[in-house]
Symmetry: C2
């Protein structure tokens, strides 16, 4: 078989296809780039098809400039043997590092193996560049039960999320022992990665749920323009950014708990159905009052440009606050939350229709924070209780995962926890 | 409100965002471009963010170089009033033409209207370029019942598809009075278009089903590289191409039936779940035997390069045909089907998981043909009866639609049928 197919590697094909690689320089300037010292941030600021380094102090896919597409998966661990779980995490690490480099899951995996054996790589990404693929792993609270002897390694911050007002969680979209967030600028590359990890895990893990996102709803780097969510508003203007390491240290990177999570971050995922048909019948004034920003420019109400400082104290005629008491950006602001901030990294989704004549669309919310108990939870409690936007939202999926720090050379996913 | 948001148009924002527009020149050469005389083909051969002309002899989105992403929707018409249906089709046409040009659904629709009124455009594509958006409309057999007096205008070729062996059709993913295929190089642009058409149709139509596709599985132009499906194989190598008008005239463009469909085409949609986990346990040799091509290069078995002529008569050791009797490309070949060919235009999909530990993934098959009775139907009968690949496939959604010819200046969707 090798005479026909041998030696075809994703990297070589990438070279051939390079002429077609998308090149974006959205907002990138030399000055901005100079401030992005992290190679995981810098790699894709200019070339959206380039690889992002897999190893580093932190996992890639957190402050990496948010790629355009996402495939998120939550696995149940089905084996009861700790050594099988460890072996899987080692196998996954090898495959993940290769795939993020634009390679097949194993050397010659798609067509270079024994012809009488199933190929080790499923092949659909053979001709595609790395596309800034990042794979980010996290461990859910359920992994720390009595199956693998991990109970005493569970961080206190890795809580079961409380029930928030209005929650309508579907068990088929909630929880999971392990999550992997795949982000890439080509969705086929993200899907290929999740599929091959699921395949490598056959007999040890099973897909509990998964979600595709087609459009990022946050910027995580000052090199990126602010995208729009399916309410039509710019989303994430005041997000934490890769270029502000002081704020990341304060709000994103874990400093407490068992050693294996220090330098990592807690990921919260929420599948938020947006009742877009109802929203679309709301007036522009009402929409802007609910969000607290102008729809066109993204400027905070009372200001004129997107990145103007939000001022919650500006009043309009009759002394009425320009940013209403129940406006989304007021309730979610650090000022209202004793300084708490999160790094948002969500994606728009549309999953067919709901059987009642509507699209099943919304936002797959992902955030990273240093301690979910003092950041995401109080924020979501405030929003679920008072945010006027809640009338148009339905939280129907949820997950909470502890993402370990980045991998050093030779290390594997979860080594600090299980090694 | 206009002082803050007025005059923000997608075109203006497109200009601002132009620096970030993806530019691809995949395989495009001056010589190839010179053969693409159709402006709907030529527009996006170089710049994947550019608009595709909405009007022309044929609807865009058929031989237009297949864009990377798709959102397909099937509507039920809920009004019983013919004049309301006509009014909707006129409103849709205005909005569709604007959106394919990179504009909002109506002038100033997102933020330029009365602040006390719901915006006429939902806004999530405000900052995005046209992204080669095409919107292609088709009418299903059910539209030609007694509701709108169209029974005598139903083309004979617009049959209810026969039940094919192995069909497991889900009524929630099958049929529909009207379909719209949105294809674009940015999924948010495709989703925005379908959403706004659904919104304009509120009270007159309801979404019956919809499907997102993340990666094209066919080329429809010689300017495009052949993509891979989720079996990891290059798909559509021998597809009909925009640059071969003689073959298109023979196989794609309708020449018979009521006048309103002449110059149009019949669209067949099939949601094909692919049991990728089972496929992935099959040997490379077996996979290649099932397809009839080498996985790496895409060469027909017995040949050496992807675009080598398929030869169904080459025999290997022992006189065994290199391309097996039950190989996919043999059964689907024009040689095996009395010359019948189709224009394929499908997309890979992944819709979360199936609840049994697997991804719900596959191919959303779309084809266009001149007469479904003599092209798609016999092909699918041969495949469903004998194709060894069927073991890994499950057809669970289906639709058949008559797509009228292109629009002249001032014309509207369905004018020939309802005007």
């Amino acid at each position: 078989m090798s005479d026909r197919n041998g030696g075809v590697s994703r990297r070589r094909l990438f070279g051939l296809a390079g002429a077609g690689a998308a090149v974006a320089g959205l907002g990138a300037t030399a000055g901005v780039l100079a401030t992005a010292r992290d190679p995981q941030v810098r790699a894709t600021a200019v070339d959206t098809s380039a690889p992002v380094p897999f190893r580093g102090p932190h996992q890639a896919g957190i402050v990496t400039p948010a790629q355009d597409r996402m495939h998120f998966v939550a696995f149940d661990v089905t084996t009861r043997k700790r050594e099988e779980l460890v072996a899987l995490l080692k196998d996954w690490t090898l495959a993940a590092e290769r795939m993020t480099a634009g390679e097949e899951a194993t050397q010659g995996g798609a067509v270079g193996g024994a012809p009488q054996a199933p190929p080790a790589d499923t092949g659909e990404a053979l001709d595609l560049p790395a596309s800034a693929l990042t794979l980010t792993i996290g461990f859910g609270p359920s992994l720390f039960d009595d199956r693998f002897g991990l109970a005493d390694k569970r961080p206190e911050a890795l809580v079961e999320l409380p029930r928030f007002r209005g929650d309508d969680l579907d068990a088929r979209r909630t929880g999971g022992d392990i999550c992997v967030q795949a982000c890439a600028n080509d969705p086929q590359v993200a899907v290929h990665a999740i599929r091959n990890l699921a395949r490598i895990g056959f007999g040890k893990v099973a897909v509990r749920w998964s979600q595709l996102g087609f459009g990022r709803t946050s910027s995580t780097s000052t090199t990126q323009a602010t995208p729009r969510n399916l309410f039509g508003f710019k989303d994430g203007t005041n997000n934490l950014k890769a270029e502000d390491p002081t704020a990341l240290a304060e709000h994103v990177w874990v400093t407490e708990g068992p050693q294996w999570i220090v330098g990592g971050s807690y990921l919260v995922a929420r599948r938020i159905r947006m009742h877009i048909e109802i929203w679309d019948r709301t007036s522009l004034t009402e929409q802007e009052a609910i969000v607290g920003r102008a729809k066109g420019t993204g400027a905070p109400l009372g200001q004129t440009a997107e990145f103007d400082q939000v001022d919650l104290h500006v009043r309009g005629p009759g002394g009425v606050p320009r940013i209403a008491e129940d406006a989304h950006i007021r309730l979610a602001s650090a000022e209202s939350l004793k300084g708490a901030r999160i790094l948002r990294r969500g994606y728009n989704f549309t999953d067919g229709s709901d059987g009642f004549g509507h699209l099943d669309a919304g936002l797959f919310f992902i955030c990273f924070n240093r301690d979910t108990r003092t950041q995401f939870v109080p924020m979501q409690q405030a929003l679920s209780a008072n945010d006027k936007m809640m009338e148009y939202l339905e939280h129907n999926g949820s997950g909470h995962f502890a993402c370990p720090p980045g991998l050093s050379q030779g290390g594997y996913w979860g080594e600090g926890l299980l090694g």
